[in-house]
């Protein structure tokens, strides 16, 4: 890992100069995203040279900073790309579609290089891998892409295959990164990767040893390299989780005929879910950006508000100090103060809001790639990209969007012939729009493709035992079955996706954001996915309840009603389970005081309150002592220490300054069933 000799004198140490590296990472991220969206908006027929200039400038900045940090790969690639762009902006070479593709591919590789560096920096800063402090990045072979750029510069015809995806896969296979790469680019799902990995043969290294091509030493180094590569954290996270010991991991790595994760599963050391969780955790950590760009207007506004706050503070403390000789005055000051406080809260909240622009722009790239791959012409129509959402929501929403869009292009939109045959426009259209509606954000994906086939979905669901044969269901209910696990209605599962594959994951992800997803469809005309999300993740409406002296918050959204039942409405089953009979509907009763071992006097439901709550699997009721009132609460995480507690999704600070725990109703049901 010594890198190229000429880089050594410039190489900075990640640990000592972490600030510079973190800055570089976020800078490159911004430049790449901007360039990508600029490239996508280039119209090959009608060139806007200002756009090319902008891309040129971004790439140039990347090159400069990379050079300073001694990151030769990034520097070399951006240098070549810059040359290409320079020629294009001077009009020396025509800006063709091929160049667009080449630029996008180069940006992908720069991004991979950036991500690799990011993981390395992250690991170094957490002190996990001291050897990684060398900044030389080696995970991707940049030679093929550089060759392509050079070929293009020399004016020769591009002999490389046109599909960007195939191209990318080619060179990445050599580095054993394919799976990770594919998943990250949402080309395959995790499950697909896992299946693929199972079928995958042994590692390159072992074969090489057997062939006598290389020595064990080399392989050791390669394994070392693997540790530094993106796969390492999986094992690492598992070790940290205590799922397996360092030794077991080492053994697995030694035994690495296949991927670490898989061997771990085979050995029964861990389960597939754990591996997936680890992967997810890794991904989550990798993609959470540490910074957020804030509109200066918002900052100015906040600044003004804080200024006013200081004045209000002075006024009120003055009132207190010199006695309230003017009661009206201090009342006025107090109400002024509370208004400012509210304004500041709103303003600070709004600083967490980010527009959907970047996310949507990424989608146009995706639609471009997928439609190219599927050999279809698809137009993506975007509207409402200025709609703002909480930064955390934006980060999570991208994945489900990718999934749905990919499905829409791959399965929703029919092939050209079929479209023409059914009298549609040759070019398919997918509409992606976002707008506000009643305190929620709605994101809609609408395609004009074949639509969902009711019969097929229903039959499949019956096959899978998800629905009973003669159940009466509305069309909408049937369509929404595609969100059930394992329900794929695609005739053939292409290598991009199968409609239904992973839709359950989409739904889960959206529900994690306390959102809802719904699909409507008309056969032959197209389908519409509607995602409804709360404006912010940080605040919820809750009902404060108490059990004994403890207060809990139940999210209003999960409550369907609350009541004090009559004695005869409560029946016990086998003297153990209890149900509440509510207008003929029976709801199982969970006694919170029993579940959580809390002392309370009100143990008879007819003296206390029964809250009927709604979960995905149906309704049930929770017994609490009293309802204390409704309140908007700011959700606070309880931290890792309490992450295993079932039925509690977080904490919130109540009016008395104490912490109230927020109940997670589906968790309570689980806990009650387990008890």
């Amino acid at each position: 890992m010594n890198g190229n000799p000429e880089t050594n004198e410039f190489t900075l140490d990640i640990k000592d100069d972490s600030e510079i590296f973190l800055e570089f990472l976020s800078e490159v991220q911004d430049h790449l995203e901007e360039s990508e969206s600029n490239i996508l908006s280039i119209d090959n027929e009608n060139l806007d040279y200002e756009l090319i200039n902008a891309i040129f400038r971004s790439i140039h900045s990347i090159k400069g900073s990379a050079g300073f940090l001694g990151l030769t790969d990034i520097q070399r690639l951006s240098h070549e790309l810059e040359t290409l762009l320079d020629k294009a902006r001077k009009g020396e070479i025509p800006f063709t579609k091929k160049i667009t593709t080449l630029c996008l591919d180069s940006i992908d590789i720069l991004r991979t290089l950036r991500d690799t560096l990011s993981v390395k920096v992250d690991m170094t800063l957490r002190g996990k891998d001291d050897a990684a402090s060398s900044t030389h990045e080696q995970s991707v072979d940049i030679q093929p892409i550089i060759n392509r750029i050079l070929t293009m510069l020399n004016g020769e015809t591009d002999t490389q295959p046109q599909s960007a995806q195939y191209k990318r896969e080619d060179h990445i296979t050599e580095n054993e990164h394919i799976g990770e790469f594919l998943v990250r680019n949402s080309i395959i799902t995790q499950e697909q990767l896992d299946t693929a990995l199972k079928e995958k043969g042994r590692k390159l290294g072992e074969i090489l040893i057997e062939n006598g091509t290389v020595s064990q030493d080399f392989i050791d180094k390669a394994i070392e390299e693997q540790k530094r590569s993106l796969w390492k954290p999986v094992g690492e996270i598992l070790v940290k989780n205590g799922t397996l010991t360092e030794q077991q991991l080492q053994e697995a790595i030694k035994e690495q005929k296949r991927k670490v994760g898989e061997i771990l599963v085979d050995n029964g050391v861990t389960t597939q879910e754990n591996i997936e969780d680890a992967l997810k955790t890794r991904q989550a950590r990798k993609e959470q950006s540490r910074t957020v760009k804030v509109d200066t207007d918002k900052l100015d506004n906040l600044f003004d508000l804080v200024g006013e706050l200081v004045i209000a503070n002075t006024l009120i403390s003055g009132d207190l100090k010199y006695g309230c000789n003017n009661e009206n005055g201090s009342n006025k000051n107090l109400s002024h103060l509370s208004k400012i406080t509210k304004d500041i809260q709103d303003q600070v909240m709004s600083m967490r809001m980010v527009s959907l622009k970047q996310t949507f722009q990424k989608m146009s790239r995706l639609v471009r790639d997928v439609s190219m791959h599927a050999n279809k012409e698809v137009e993506l129509i975007i509207s409402g990209e200025d709609t703002e959402l909480d930064k955390n929501v934006i980060e999570v929403i991208a994945d489900p969007l990718v999934h749905i869009l990919r499905n829409s292009v791959d399965h929703g939109i029919e092939s050209e012939e079929k479209r023409i045959a059914s009298g549609k426009r040759k070019k398919g259209a997918v509409k992606l729009s976002a707008y506000h509606k009643g305190g929620n954000i709605i994101i809609q994906i609408e395609d004009d493709g074949t639509g969902l086939q009711k019969e097929k979905i229903l039959n499949k669901a019956i096959d899978k035992g998800l629905v009973k044969e003669h159940s009466v269901m509305s069309d909408n209910q049937i369509y929404n079955l595609i969100f059930s696990p394992g329900l794929s209605t695609a005739e053939k599962i292409t290598n991009i996706s199968g409609r239904g594959v992973g839709m359950d994951v989409v739904k889960k992800n959206i529900e994690k954001l306390r959102g809802k997803i719904d699909v409507t469809s008309e056969e032959g005309k197209g389908s519409t996915f509607t995602i409804k999300l709360p404006l912010t993740l940080a605040i919820i409406d809750g009902i404060v309840v108490n059990v004994g002296s403890t207060k809990y918050i139940i999210p209003t959204i999960s409550i369907s009603e609350s009541l004090r039942p009559r004695k005869e409405e409560i029946s016990t089953i086998k003297n153990q389970g209890e149900v509440v009979n509510m207008r003929g509907n029976l709801f199982p009763l969970v006694r919170l005081h029993k579940l959580y071992n809390i002392d309370t006097k009100k143990t008879n439901p007819w003296e206390a309150i029964v809250v009927i709550v709604e979960t995905e699997e149906g309704k049930f009721s929770i017994l609490v002592d009293e309802l204390l009132g409704q309140q908007q609460v700011v959700i606070k995480s309880l931290g890792d220490t309490f992450k295993g507690v079932k039925g509690i999704s977080g904490g919130a600070i109540l009016g008395d300054g104490k912490v109230g725990l927020i109940l997670d109703v589906s968790g309570i049901k689980e806990a009650a069933l387990a008890a």
Binding site: V645, K646, V659
Partner: protein
């Protein structure tokens, strides 16, 4: 070998000492963020005894651990002197309930003895060493070890 390693961990410096059931313990002062009185603790269900619950520390929700219970000492009524020491473990604040805080002591390297072994059943892994100062023995705790999430993740198994 192990002893040598342990010795290296103890850096001389200032320690905050506190009393737990008549024994005197010390935590590196650099790990201590603040000392507060016992304020309304909200118990979190389905957790081990020693996890008292959570408190609101100026808008942050932090977990509270009762060291007496953690060390299997008998529980006592909280008094005026009972307080919460807020320490920082893995960049996250966490509060520990102790009987009372006594003083900040300078402990030199030479004044630290290795932890003797007490045989089976007595876990000493969280003790960095024994400090001898002012004719007292101060048990120097490795607070990271005691409060690391690995250790506390037992919650998950219990739940």
């Amino acid at each position: 070998m192990e002893a040598a390693v342990q010795k290296n961990i103890v850096d001389e410096g200032k320690f905050l000492t506190f009393i737990l059931s008549k024994e005197e313990y010390g935590i590196e002062i650099l790990k201590v963020r603040e000392i507060i009185g016992v304020i309304g603790i909200t118990p979190v269900p389905q957790t081990p005894d020693y996890l008292r619950g959570v408190i609101n520390l100026r808008g942050k929700v932090i977990p509270i651990i009762d060291l007496r219970l953690k060390f299997s000492m008998p529980e006592v009524e909280h008094t005026q002197e009972t307080c919460i020491i807020v320490v920082e473990v893995n960049n996250a604040p966490i509060g520990v309930v102790v009987d009372n805080v006594s003083e900040v002591l300078d402990i030199k390297n030479g004044e630290v003895e290795d932890t003797p072994q007490f045989g089976h059943g007595i876990d000493t892994s969280f003790i960095m060493g024994l400090g001898k100062a002012k004719n007292k023995i101060i048990i120097l705790l490795d607070i990271n070890e005691i409060l690391s999430t690995d250790e506390l993740e037992m919650v998950e198994q219990l739940a």
